[in-house]
Amino acid sequence: MRSYRILPIIMTTALCFSFVQTAVWTAEDQKTGNSYFVDLDGDGFNDNAPDKNNDGIPDMAGPEYLNDGRADFEAEEGIIDFGACLPLSDELLANSTRFNRRRFGARDLLQNRCGYDCDEAFGSGSGIGIGSVRRSGGCEGGVCGP
């Protein structure tokens, strides 16, 4: 059996480094004001954080937030709850955009953690990695699963 005892140390160091570095950059809690911190998808980020360009990345994580975006974020606090924070006037948007907004509102209904395949949820969600490959024809104990 091959041994990779040194690799967990390297990995843990990398994990700690990535955590410490980003935390030091902006070492403060997210300001939520009177609104609620809602995290239906469990990624640790406030689902109600503004995302003006709809790219799935909260604006506060972008460089613009560190410069002059704080005022916008704070101005939108207090009116946000478990409902989606996205704008409602979408008459001119394509169906795909409008559908994705509905799916965002139902983001906690997409997958349950309990069940026989609960370990599938572990991972980066990037769709790559050995886990995703195994799910499309993977192996265990010398044999392979569907």
Binding site: M1, R2, S3, L7, P8, M11, A14, F19, T22, T26, A27, E28, D29, Y36, V38, D39, G42, G44, F45, N46, D55, I57, P58, G62, D81, F82, G83, L86, N95, S96, F99, R102, R103, G105, A106, D108, L109, N112, R113, C114, G115, Y116, C118, D119, F122, S124, G125, S126, G127, I128, G129, I130, S132, S136, G137, C139, G141, G142, V143, C144
Partner: protein, 384 residues
């Protein structure tokens, strides 16, 4: 000018009218989205066995999504997985599905319907394990208070092999969840679930057969394996660019006494690798280094107790049977580190490049399942 001639056959007329109706009813906002993805990588232990066999793999696929109305999505997808050394394991997957969300984002109640069909075809070496899967789910979420939301999810899954029946199973799962927003940017999500799987299994013999069983001649019976689950999750931000979640999961079989399945080391593609009871805990970090650079990492620990299975055993003499019933219990540690970079153009094309490292250590009471493995994967996705 020649007059338009309608088909004389009633069936053709009906089809024509239905087609025209659909086309006329389509909203001008109906659109189609496409996605192409490809990935490749190296793994030091593809088969997850003590010896460890290196291999390279690649995966390519495409999908088309059609949105006739704003509440409905149809998907058509295909994917091909290729293995370098174990070429026969390469497979093609095709599928189609839909998602229907009738409720608007402003509604306090969210309803979600989904259905999927996928078929997988292996190369000649593993053709017996070609399979079809059917998935369906109905979910309802309700916002009780500004800081609490409940959900009820029912899901159905069916796996059927086209070349054999002993691995077929159908699963019905129900889960009830609650998401609570707590002061101080903390969030807790609780979930309890019940799962029922109909599956074929062998009855465990009693002595004096001395726990020997021949999987190729023992009759299979149909039965139900039931399990209950409990999973709390805690999440919160660490600074403004890091998100943290800690998830615990506990699963218990309710009626697995006397159930024996085919062993995982008896040259079968195993449909039972994900069927176990036990507990697990995982910690995940997600951080945005820049607005388009996402770094995530996680570590997990699992205690798994599998169904009793028929395994190959050493034969002390020619009269001894080659198979025996074994209990299997594993302890697994897994680690991943991933970095994803997003590029977007003004025309709306989004390209995502990703790199991921996975590391797995598995210890088991059975030597056949003591293994470790390292894999390195890269991938790219383009969305139009």
């Amino acid at each position: 000018m020649r007059p338009i001639r309608f088909p004389r056959r009633p069936a053709s007329m009906v089809c024509l009218l239905a087609f025209m109706t659909i086309v006329m009813e389509l909203s001008v906002r109906a659109d189609i989205r496409a996605e192409f993805h490809t990935s490749g990588g190296y793994t030091s232990n593809l088969l997850n066995e003590p010896g460890g066999e290196e291999d390279c793999y690649s995966l390519a696929g495409a999908s088309i999504r059609f949105y006739p109305v704003s509440s409905l999505e149809f998907t058509l997808r295909n994917e091909y997985t290729y293995y370098g050394r174990i070429f026969g394991l390469s497979s093609f997957t095709g599928g189609l599905g839909f998602i229907y969300i009738p409720t608007d984002t402003s509604s306090p109640v969210a309803v979600y319907f989904s259905g999927d069909f996928n078929t997988r075809v292996y190369r000649e070496d593993f053709r017996a394990f070609d399979n079809d899967t059917y998935d369906a789910a109905i979910s309802v979420g309700c916002r009780l208070f500004p800081s609490a939301r409940l959900r009820l999810i029912y899901s159905f899954n069916s796996l059927s092999y086209t070349g054999m029946e002993i691995g077929d199973h159908k699963t019905n799962e129900v889960s009830l969840g609650a998401n609570l927003a707590l002061p101080g940017s903390n969030s807790i999500d609780l979930e309890i679930g019940y799962a029922d799987m109909s599956m074929p299994y062998m009855k465990e013999p009693r002595p004096p057969r001395n726990y020997y069983l021949d999987p190729f001649h023992e009759p299979y019976v149909d039965g139900h394996l039931r399990a209950i689950n409990f999973s709390p999750r805690f999440s919160r931000p660490l600074g403004s660019k890091v998100g943290l979640n800690i998830t615990y999961n506990r699963s218990n079989f309710q009626n697995n006494a006397g159930m024996v399945i085919s062993g995982l080391t008896t040259s079968l593609l195993s449909p039972w690798a994900s069927i176990y009871e036990g507990q697990s805990v995982s910690l995940n970090l997600k951080s945005y280094w820049t607005s388009n650079l996402l770094v995530s990492s996680g570590v997990g620990y699992w205690e798994k107790e599998f169904l009793k299975s028929v395994e190959s055993i050493p034969r002390p003499n020619q009269f001894a049977p080659p198979y025996g019933i074994k209990d299997r219990r594993d302890w697994q540690n897994e680690f991943y580190w991933s970095i994803r970079q997003f590029f977007s153009s003004k025309s709306g094309v989004i390209i995502e490049a990703a790199l991921q490292i996975d590391l797995t250590f598995n210890n088991s009471v059975l030597n056949d399942y003591d293994y470790s493995g390292l894999s390195l994967s890269t991938g790219m996705t383009a969305r139009f």
